[in-house]
């Protein structure tokens, strides 16, 4: 007599706390802005439409006007897309290359592991904003350079996390079985180890994404990131900084937008039903 096991288990539900739901809502909102935001912009972001500069929130300009009289809502919708897409590409590059190297290090072991780990540990010991400053000083600032710099800066941290995960999975019996079967290293990496570390790697991806957003906005805020006429959220704060003395929404709103992106992602990954992640940079 066999009891159908599946029927005795309670149905699986995806439970998420209130703070997690707030985080999820913020993340979904910003993804939507990245996808369709510029199409919803009421004015062209580069056109001077208002009569007063650094104006207050009005019916015509919901988030006020900037230091030249351009519509702030339109500029934030476009700037948000810059911030999120640049950070996303950079984080993806960092995590993808980190996972590949980490899997190789775990499967090959020996000197491959030792050399990779030593070299990347040296890279990790340069503070991120400082590394960005040195690269921008040497190469100037353009979007491809910003993406690559951010990817190089956050790759070692992602490598450290992914390597720890991969080494754990690599010690499991089913990996030994696959190797005994005569599967190649590439197959073991891709089909045996990777599927068993996807969720923690995705959590780590969210964390790195926050760091990249903060780094890129910091660089843009210093005037060394995205260059005019393009503007990401950090540049928007910088160019309207003169409005700070009378509390113009043009300087508060883009800064608040960055905060809502990063806090949203952080709240979401803090409340995911996985074990807690290390917040080491």
């Amino acid at each position: 007599m066999s009891v159908p096991l599946r029927a005795t288990l309670p149905p699986r539900r995806f439970r998420i706390s209130v703070t997690g739901a707030i985080g999820l809502a913020l993340v979904v909102f910003w993804l939507a802005v990245t996808a369709v935001g510029p199409m919803l912009a009421p004015y062209p972001p580069g056109r001077i439409v208002g009569t007063d500069v650094l104006g207050p929130m009005t019916h015509a300009f919901p988030l006020g006007t900037d230091y030249l009289g351009r519509d702030m809502l339109s500029r934030i919708l476009v700037g948000g897309r810059y911030t999120i897409s640049i950070a996303f590409v950079a984080t993806f590059l960092a995590c993808f290359s980190a996972c590949t190297l980490a899997l190789a290090a775990a499967v090959k072991g020996g000197w491959v592991d030792a050399v990779l780990s030593r070299l990347l540990d040296a890279l990790i010991s340069i503070p991120s904003l400082l590394f960005g400053l040195v690269v921008v000083a040497a190469l100037g600032s353009s979007i491809p350079i910003l993406v690559l710099t951010a990817a190089v800066i956050y790759m070692p941290g992602a490598y450290r996390t992914a390597r720890a995960l991969a080494v754990n999975v690599n010690a499991m019996d089913f990996v030994r079985v696959a190797q005994a079967r005569g599967e190649g290293a590439w197959y073991v990496m891709r089909a045996e180890i990777m599927p068993n570390m996807v969720l923690p790697v995705l959590t780590d991806f969210g964390l790195r994404f926050v760091f990249v957003v903060l780094l890129l906005s910091g660089l843009s805020f210093l005037g060394l990131g995205v260059q005019p006429p393009d503007a990401d959220l950090g540049s928007l704060v910088r160019e309207n900084l003169q409005g700070l003395v009378f509390g113009a929404p043009a300087v508060i709103m883009p800064a608040a937008a960055i905060a809502s992106i990063t806090i949203g992602v952080n709240l979401l990954i803090d409340n995911l039903p996985t074990r807690r992640v290390s917040r080491e940079r």
Partner: protein, 318 residues
């Protein structure tokens, strides 16, 4: 102290020195990527080829890169890292004028944030799960995930614009007495402390919660020890190593924050000097500032690791 601990410490110091060497190679290598010729860039477009060649020789640009790297490294170690490309003043003098300002800022921030962060970290760990803990945890997560310049702009908005308590810019000229000093330093210190305190409180809480969950603490609870005695006598001594580790690591976040804070408040420190040097692409100055920052960072991380080694009793009595 026994031979095992000494060996661990020696290994850790050696690794730090090796890392510093690799970092110096990366920083120097970044300059090699510079498109175009430094001599050409210094002299401008109107320079004759003869003048460019002469300057190349004077700046030793005709030598191979590794030779220049070695002489640059030698210059750094002997306190002579070359001349600024922009105003032709010695880099050492430029840095010497700014370094004390940054150190004062860092010292005040440390003195202000460490006690506060430890208090928050320890109390949230003791009352974990309470409303206070949940509010504090949400606040600290938010604080570590907002950019420093948001904190700085909000601080200016509240204290300088709305309340008129403090000046929006920092300048040390014309400061009279203790009150004047507080007025100048309050805003940069508050902004810097904000992120550092959040980071430190989170790590302290995690370290102490870990210890409070162990079985010997449960034993102490079962034998009837008072809650504060458990925390102060039983848990804290064992959590001290991780906590010192957390303090040192969190202070390394100062280095990133100080770059933003000195720029926004126009504070005449080392980070402001470096940001200005990046804007004018004054590479000798950028290199030296970057090395100083990396040195400070590595020292703090090494301190954190040494604290972890020294506080581990299993290593002490072997």
């Amino acid at each position: 102290m026994n031979s095992l601990v000494l060996r661990l410490i020696a290994t850790r110091v050696a690794v730090s020195l090796l890392t510093l060497l690799i970092v110096s190679a990366i920083v120097f290598g970044a300059t090699e990527l510079l498109p175009g010729d430094v001599a050409q860039a210094v002299l401008g477009q109107g320079a004759t080829p003869d003048a460019v060649t002469a300057l190349r020789q004077a700046m030793h640009l005709d030598q191979p890169a590794w030779l220049r790297y070695v002489s640059w490294l030698h210059g750094l170690l002997t306190g002579n890292p070359g001349l600024s490309l922009v105003n032709h003043l010695p880099v050492a003098g430029l840095i010497g004028g700014r370094l004390p300002n940054s150190l004062v800022l860092a010292a005040i921030t440390t003195a202000f944030s460490v006690p506060l962060a430890l208090a928050i970290g320890i109390t949230t760990a003791v009352w974990r799960g309470s409303l206070y803990d949940r509010i504090a945890s949400t606040l600290t997560v938010s604080a570590v995930s907002v950019p420093e310049f948001l904190v700085a702009t909000l601080a200016v908005l509240i204290f300088a614009v709305n309340l008129h308590w403090l000046p929006a810019l920092s300048s040390r000229s014309g400061v009279h007495g203790l009150f004047g000093l507080v007025r100048v330093y309050a805003m940069p210190v508050v902004t810097l402390s904000f992120v550092v305190i959040a980071q430190m409180a989170r790590m302290t809480r995690a370290a102490l919660v870990n210890t409070l969950g162990s079985s010997y603490v449960e034993m102490a609870l079962l034998k009837g020890a008072r809650p504060w005695r458990i925390v102060l006598r039983h848990a804290l001594p064992n959590a001290l190593g991780p906590i010192v580790n957390a303090v040192a690591l969190s202070l390394s976040f100062l280095l990133g924050g100080v770059i933003i804070v000195e720029t926004i408040f126009n504070y005449p420190g080392l980070a402001k000097l470096m940001v200005d040097a990046v804007a004018t692409r004054d590479m000798p100055l950028v290199q030296s500032c970057a090395m100083l920052f990396c040195l400070a960072y590595l020292l703090l991380v090494m301190l954190a690791d040494l604290a972890a080694i020294l506080s581990n009793p299993r290593l002490r009595y072997r």
